[in-house]
């Protein structure tokens, strides 16, 4: 079953709930190695996304993602705002004006999103950023789509890979973002952006089921 603009909007609402639930956790993760605003920033952004969607839901999945992108860019701020904004924008561009998105579409959009974040933030796998969650997620989504899986399965695979990727940041010395100021002292901490990426993918997977 392929998903529509409405489904994407619903998934974004689920993501907003997830962020709200984990706001304090994300603040605490960021407080430990950064400046403590990550949960607050995302919460502000996704609350705004929901408000925007309450007014009107655009007609295509791409248009919904684009609306989310511009809202996040103008509401989140910090490093996460432009990075997630870019991710959603690139995903939207990849989908163009298709009316629905299937498992392959999800994998394609996720690949574009992750490449966008990499281009924007210049982080690679191993730098202890959201890339460590997103890159394995994009790979897992591609594998799953190649097997012909549907949206829910592709997203579930991506989310599982993102969880593992996020977890791997615990042992890393951060090389990008605020945590990089810590050097060796940052080891032992989960990167907040990697954690939020995994949470978002988990929310999308849950919504797709």
């Amino acid at each position: 079953m392929a998903c529509t603009a409405k489904d994407v909007a619903a998934a974004l609402r689920t993501a907003a709930e997830k962020v709200a639930e984990h706001r304090v956790e994300l603040v605490e993760l960021d407080r430990a190695i950064g400046d403590g605003d990550h949960g607050e920033n995302l919460h502000r952004g996704f609350t705004a996304v929901v408000s925007t969607l309450d007014q009107a839901v655009p007609e295509t999945p791409g248009a919904v993602l684009k609306l989310a992108a511009t809202t996040l860019i103008s509401k989140v701020g910090g490093a996460a705002g432009p990075l997630y904004g870019t991710a959603f924008l690139r995903a939207a561009t990849a989908l163009g004006d298709r009316a629905t998105m299937d498992g392959a579409g999800v994998a394609e959009a996720l690949r574009a999103a992750v490449d966008g974040v990499r281009a924007r933030g210049k982080a690679e796998v191993g730098d202890a950023t959201m890339i460590d969650a997103l890159e394995p997620a994009a790979k897992a989504a591609a594998d799953s789509a190649r097997d012909g899986d549907d949206v829910a399965v592709v997203l579930t695979s991506a989310a599982a890979a993102a969880d593992g990727g996020a977890q791997s940041t615990v042992d890393m010395v951060a090389r990008k973002g605020r945590a990089s100021y810590l050097g060796e002292r940052g080891v032992g901490h989960l990167d907040p952006g990697a954690r939020s990426s995994a949470l978002l993918l988990r929310a999308f997977a849950e919504a797709a089921r």
Binding site: R31, D35, N41, R175
Partner: protein, 333 residues
């Protein structure tokens, strides 16, 4: 957490209302997105100088809007870079024919958000350039990391570039002046206590009763090392040495010494530290020609100080001495 606020979500907007009420002769504040604009901007015949970043560092940047310094400041949420639309709205409001220079502190968020805004402004046909300031020697400088943070040097950069813009320098001239200043300013800070971000409600980090964080950032990000508190003489020497050795500053150099309070340090201690820094520099044969002492780039109520050194020449000294009229810095007017 005890704070003089109503709601963490509205702290910045409410504080800006107070700033506007207090300094209506110097600046205007606009809402949604929040920007602080020099009264009467755009000012004809000059490049617009714009800066901004997360709030919580007051008087930076809104307190530096006015004649001889900034044309606009873009305040984000507390410790959070502002969004591109806010930066863009400031650019639109204050930029005239001669273009605009953005002064951006080197944090991933600031760089990305200002970069996006600059692209949007360029797409509108405006000549907008950015200069990134990264003067914090506490952080290892490397292209493989986020790089050094922009801290105390930002205040001096805004003053010098603002003065040059006021006398009519072109955008090219301002850009190269700004890069020159960035090349010869260095800072380092130390924290005795942590700031408390309103929406977090708890101190950003925990320091023991005898611990200090050496090389602290202005968002309460950790620095070089956590160490045991030591007497002012030793601590200030440590700060001065870190800064002097980095550039390096050398015997015979003329400098501006900026002794900054991170917000919660009593002036009694700040001047005490300044006096020690002056003597340590004199011992090294470095000539302190200008000084700035006070809370100018802060981290909410954090107790601590930073030391910034800028290598001076006649040109920079003249620009420093030029009139300035802002909420937080004022002379010659």
């Amino acid at each position: 957490m005890k704070k003089i606020i109503n709601d963490p979500a509205t702290v910045v907007a409410e504080s800006l209302r107070g700033l506007a009420a207090a300094h209506g002769d110097i600046l205007d504040v606009r809402d949604e997105p929040a920007v602080v604009l020099r009264a009467g901007a755009p000012v004809g015949g000059k490049v617009a100088v714009i800066s901004g970043g997360g709030s919580g560092h007051e008087p930076l940047h809104g307190g530096f809007v006015g004649r001889g310094m900034l044309d606009a400041a873009v305040p984000g949420a507390v410790f959070t870079s502002p969004t591109p639309d806010a930066v863009q709205s400031a650019i639109q409001a204050v930029t005239g024919d001669k273009g605009a220079l953005l002064i951006v502190k080197n944090y991933t968020g600031d760089v990305l958000n200002f970069e996006t805004a600059a692209e949007l402004a360029a797409a509108e046909g405006r000549d907008v350039r950015s200069v990134v300031i990264d003067d914090d020697v506490a952080v290892a400088d490397s292209t493989f990391t986020a790089g050094r943070r922009g801290v105390g040097g930002t205040v001096l950069l805004e003053k010098l570039v603002g003065a040059a813009a006021e006398r009519g320098d072109s955008l090219d001239e301002l850009e190269s002046l700004a890069r020159r200043v960035v090349g010869q300013v260095r800072s380092i800070g130390v924290a005795l206590t942590a700031p408390t971000v309103p929406h977090v409600g708890e101190p950003s980090f925990a320091l023991g009763p005898d611990e200090i964080e050496f090389g602290i950032g202005i968002h309460g990000e950790p620095g070089r090392e956590r160490m045991t508190a030591e007497p002012a003489d030793a601590l200030v020497e440590r700060l001065v040495a870190a800064v002097v050795e980095d550039l390096p500053f050398e015997r015979g150099d003329d400098v501006l010494l900026f002794t900054n309070s991170m917000g919660g340090t009593p002036m009694l201690e700040l001047y005490l530290a300044h006096g020690i820094a002056e003597r340590r520099l004199a011992e090294r044969g470095i000539g302190v020609r200008r000084r700035l002492v006070g809370p100018y780039i802060t981290s909410l109520e954090m107790q601590g100080i930073s030391i910034t050194l800028l290598k001076l020449d006649d040109e920079l000294t003249r620009l420093w001495d030029d009139p300035v009229h802002t909420a937080a810095l004022r002379w010659g007017v």
